[in-house]
Structure formats: structure tokens, C-alpha cells
């Protein structure tokens, strides 16, 4: 048995076991509050957009535009002002991965 093939096989065997038992990766600071208004599930009759699976750069851009007051908003301008660039980008990247 050559070494690379063996390691690949071992990883294949172990991956599902670890995957099934591991906790879901924790969301970045602030991200879990968003789903109070932005629905995590589909099919809800609301004008507030869903964030799951959206492009990360697009979410970041919108948040920064809200924060700068360059886009008219109700609550999002006030909320975005509480987050740094790094925090916004981490939240955006996490939502982009959610389905």
C-alpha cells in the first residue's frame, strides 16, 4: 500500500465519523442576532431579505453603505454603526455559507 493512497483512505473513513459528532461551527459575534428579522427559513411573508447563501461581498458592501448613511434605511443604519469592517466581513462570510 503506498502512503498517499493509504492516508486518503483513512481520512475518508474518519471524516464522516468526526463530521457526525462535531458541533456546528460557531457563528461570528453578532451574526446570530440577525435572524430575528432576516429569516433563516424560506417561505416567510416578509419584506426583510434573507441573508443565507447571499454573496459575502454583497452583504459586506450593503452593511458598509448602511453604516456610512449612504443608503436610506430604517433600523439598519443604526445597527450597522455597531460593527467594524472585520466584524461585518466575518458575518457576511458566515451568512454566505449558510443555506
Amino acid at each position: 500500500m503506498n502512503a498517499p493512497r493509504f492516508f486518503a483512505a483513512a481520512a475518508f473513513l474518519l471524516a464522516p465519523m468526526i463530521g457526525a459528532m462535531a458541533a456546528a461551527p460557531e457563528s461570528p459575534a453578532g451574526a446570530s442576532s440577525c435572524s430575528g428579522c432576516h429569516p433563516a427559513n424560506t417561505g416567510i411573508d416578509t419584506p426583510i431579505p434573507r441573508l443565507n447563501g447571499r454573496n459575502a461581498a454583497e452583504i459586506s458592501e450593503q452593511m458598509k453603505t448602511f453604516r456610512a448613511g449612504q443608503r436610506s434605511a430604517t433600523v439598519m443604519g443604526r445597527i450597522a454603526k455597531g460593527f467594524s469592517d472585520d466584524e461585518i466581513e466575518a458575518i457576511a462570510a458566515w451568512y454566505a455559507e449558510q443555506r
Binding site: E26, A29, G30, C34, S35, G36, T74, R78, K81
Partner: protein, 423 residues
């Protein structure tokens, strides 16, 4: 070294490595960790669900007295005849189907040393961590003349359900030209803008159906949530709504149910309909668990929501002293998710991450007139503290289109949060 050997060594190493980074050994050696959540409102039900999602290995039991949850947000609309009570009601079927054991009973005691919760059914639940989310109880000794029997005639309607319908029926039965009085308590209490949204929507009901009637708000405070926005809207929409603050003698010091009067330091007011929103405290189980302080509320660590008084017990929602965060459904839901991550981390032997939380409270001044307050919070010096420069209320000079939009968003928020918690 034969391949057989190296395979065995590799597996040993890899499993050992995974254990150290992802699965602490106790989690493998012992049975699944157990978390009991007492209280199935926005705080408790959200915690149970978020915990299930954070770590499906945890065995979660949700203890709740009622099979049907009746939501307080939007219940002022029921009082004003704008919506019906079933629109406020949710069951636990979906939560149960998601792998959470839902037990319908009341928690009657907690033994923190033995880590058990006693239930009204006689059952005892063992826990590794306990989450207490009982919401509020009325301080029945907090206002002379007001007790549980009087509340059947002068409803508080501060826990949604029968009380909500009672207040609505009284308003419907009142003749045009009557006087409605709302008594608002001193801070802190559940839903800081709630009394003023209620005043607005009752004023809307009176204006549209009983226009000769009058509404007086007697307040134990001089300042309240979204005050400028409410008062501007009242001046514009509801000339028959009078607000009497603390310094003008607004604090109700006693009520007389037979005479239907409310007495303040400055005088006595006669009501055709009296809505007494009394002083409040954390729900009873918090007291029984020993997690309330002298204020009647529960001091917590702002990162983990673990009680400052009893280790191993976490408190979320209205019962908690959450610093700058108001006692709202949005806060309860946001705190619940942060608490769930912290509990999952602690059970797995990891250090909990520092959270950041958001609150948004929508209030309706009229069916198509919404206003908001929002805030962003993080732990600073042991308290959840407003992030400077963020948050605040809707602009005072916003056009009507903005008010209409906030009313629409309010409706969207209610549908979304109740779906996340119960759907």
C-alpha cells in the same frame, strides 16, 4: 514498520488528535451532556433550538407549563381589535419534532448541588447545565389594592392570553364618552415601549369607534422609551390621549376596585376601564433556584449568561439583568442564541467566545405607523453595554412613508421571529 502497524498508529494518533481539538475525552467517555431549559417563551424556546443546532449531541429538555404559547409582541393589536388572539399563539410540535424533549409541567424547585430540577409532576430532571427563562411574574405585593382577584376586573394584560381578551372586552363594552386609564410602572419592566404602544392603539380604537372617550396614562416615570416619537404622534393623531408623568403626579400609589379609582400622590382618577400594569420581577422559578438578587431580577455574566449567584445555571430573557438590553422578545431571542453557544462551548470544554448582540423593538402608533428603537451591545466591565455610536430611535422628522415602512417591517419581524422560535 509494516503497513498494518502504521495504520494502527495513524488511527490512534488521528482519533487522539481529533479528541483534543474537537471532542474532549469526557464527551466520548460519558453519556451525552444534559441541558434543561425552564420556560418556553421567546428566551427559553430559542435557547433550546439554538443549542440543538449548536451541538446535536446534547440532550435537551424544555420544561413549559402551557401547551400553547401566547406571544406578547403585537398583543396590543388584539386589545385594540386589530388582530385576533390565535395570531399570537404557537404550539411546541415543531420544537419537539426537532429532537428536543418538551415536558409540559411547572418547575417547582432546583437543587443546584445535585443539579436537579423538580417538576409539578413529581418527576426530577438531572442537568449538567440549567437555563432559566421564566419571563416575568407580577409583584402582587407591589401596588396596594391590586391583587390577582382585582386583576380579573382591572386587567394588567402584561402576560398575553385571557388578560388580553379581558381588556379588549372591557373596551368593547365601554360606552362612548368613557374614560380609560393605563397605569405604567417604574423601570425595569417587560417591554419598555409597551405601555405607550398600548396607549396609542387603544387611542386609535377609541378615535375610530368611540370618539368622545378619553384615555389617560398615569406614569411612575418622567422618561420612557421612544418618548419624543410617541408624544409627537399623539399630538398629531390622538388629542384625547393625556399622559401624566411622575413629576406631574402620575405615579399610581393604590387602586380601589370597588370605586374603580386609581390614586396618585396628587389626586384620584375614576376609570371606566382601568389597565393596571403593575411592578414586576423575574418568574418564580428564578427565585426558587436562588438566581434572583434583592431587585427581584437575575444578575448574569454578560458573555455566557451564567448566573452571578449560582454556577451552572444560566438566565436569559426578561428575567435577566442584561445591562443596556431592554426586556424585549428580540433581546430574549438574541440572548438565547448567545447563551446556547456559550453553554455548548462550556459543555465541550471550550472557552466561550465573546458575543455581540442586537436588539430592535418595533412599536405601532397606528396600524400603518411604526417606530423603532435599536441597539448593539457587547460585554464591558461585566455588563452588556451599548456600543457607542450605534443604535437609537427612528428619526423624529421622518415622512409618513417611513412610518408605514416600519409598520410593515414590524409585521415581517413578528412572522420571522415566531417562525425561528416555533415554526
Amino acid at each position: 514498520m509494516t503497513p498494518k502497524h502504521s495504520r494502527r498508529n495513524f488511527l490512534k494518533l488521528t482519533v487522539g488528535g481529533a479528541s483534543a481539538s474537537l471532542l474532549p475525552l469526557p464527551a466520548i467517555a460519558q453519556a451525552a451532556p444534559r441541558v434543561v431549559v425552564v420556560g418556553g417563551g421567546f428566551a427559553g424556546a430559542s435557547t433550546a433550538r439554538a443549542l440543538r443546532k449548536a451541538d446535536p449531541r446534547i440532550a435537551i429538555t424544555l420544561v413549559e407549563t402551557s401547551r400553547i404559547f401566547t406571544a406578547c409582541p403585537f398583543s396590543n393589536g388584539v386589545i385594540a381589535g386589530l388582530r385576533e388572539l390565535p395570531a399570537q399563539q404557537f404550539g411546541y410540535e415543531r420544537i419537539s419534532a426537532g429532537g428536543i424533549a418538551v415536558v409540559f409541567a411547572s418547575a417547582t424547585g432546583v437543587e443546584p448541588q445535585k443539579k436537579t430540577v423538580a417538576l409539578s409532576t413529581g418527576q426530577r430532571l438531572d442537568y449538567d447545565r440549567l437555563v432559566v427563562a421564566p419571563g416575568i411574574d407580577i409583584r402582587w405585593d407591589g401596588l396596594p389594592g391590586y391583587d390577582e382577584a382585582v386583576a380579573e376586573q382591572m386587567p394588567h394584560a402584561w402576560k398575553a392570553g385571557e388578560q388580553t381578551l379581558l381588556l379588549r372586552r372591557q373596551l368593547e363594552a365601554m360606552s362612548d364618552g368613557g374614560t380609560v386609564i393605563i397605569s405604567a410602572p417604574a423601570n425595569p419592566f417587560r417591554c419598555p415601549p409597551g405601555p405607550y404602544e398600548r396607549a396609542s392603539l387603544i387611542a386609535y380604537y377609541l378615535k375610530t369607534t368611540k370618539p368622545r372617550s378619553k384615555l389617560i396614562v398615569l406614569d411612575a416615570k418622567d422618561q420612557f422609551s421612544k418618548q419624543r416619537l410617541f408624544q409627537n404622534a399623539w399630538a398629531e393623531l390622538y388629542p384625547n390621549l393625556e399622559w401624566v408623568g411622575l413629576s406631574k403626579g402620575g405615579k399610581v400609589t393604590s387602586v380601589d376596585v370597588t370605586a374603580r379609582t386609581l390614586t396618585t400622590d396628587f389626586g384620584t382618577y375614576k376609570a371606566d376601564v382601568a389597565n393596571v400594569i403593575p411592578p414586576q420581577k423575574a418568574g418564580r422559578i428564578a427565585d426558587l433556584a436562588g438566581v434572583t438578587d434583592r431587585t427581584g431580577w437575575c444578575p448574569i455574566d454578560p458573555a455566557t449568561f451564567e448566573s452571578r449567584l449560582v454556577p451552572g445555571i444560566h438566565v436569559v430573557g426578561d428575567a435577566a439583568i442584561a445591562g443596556g438590553m431592554p426586556k424585549s422578545a428580540f433581546s430574549a431571542n438574541a440572548q438565547a442564541k448567545a447563551c446556547a453557544f456559550a453553554v455548548a462551548a462550556l459543555l465541550a470544554g471550550r472557552k466561550p467566545a465573546e458575543p455581540k448582540l442586537i436588539n430592535t423593538c418595533y412599536s405601532l402608533v397606528a396600524p400603518d405607523y411604526g417606530i423603532t428603537v435599536a441597539g448593539v451591545y457587547r460585554p464591558v466591565n461585566g455588563m452588556l453595554t451599548d456600543v457607542e455610536g450605534a443604535g437609537g430611535v427612528s428619526p423624529t422628522d421622518a415622512p409618513h412613508s417611513t412610518r408605514a415602512l416600519e409598520a410593515k417591517f414590524a409585521d415581517g419581524w413578528f412572522k420571522t421571529i415566531t417562525n425561528e422560535v416555533f415554526g
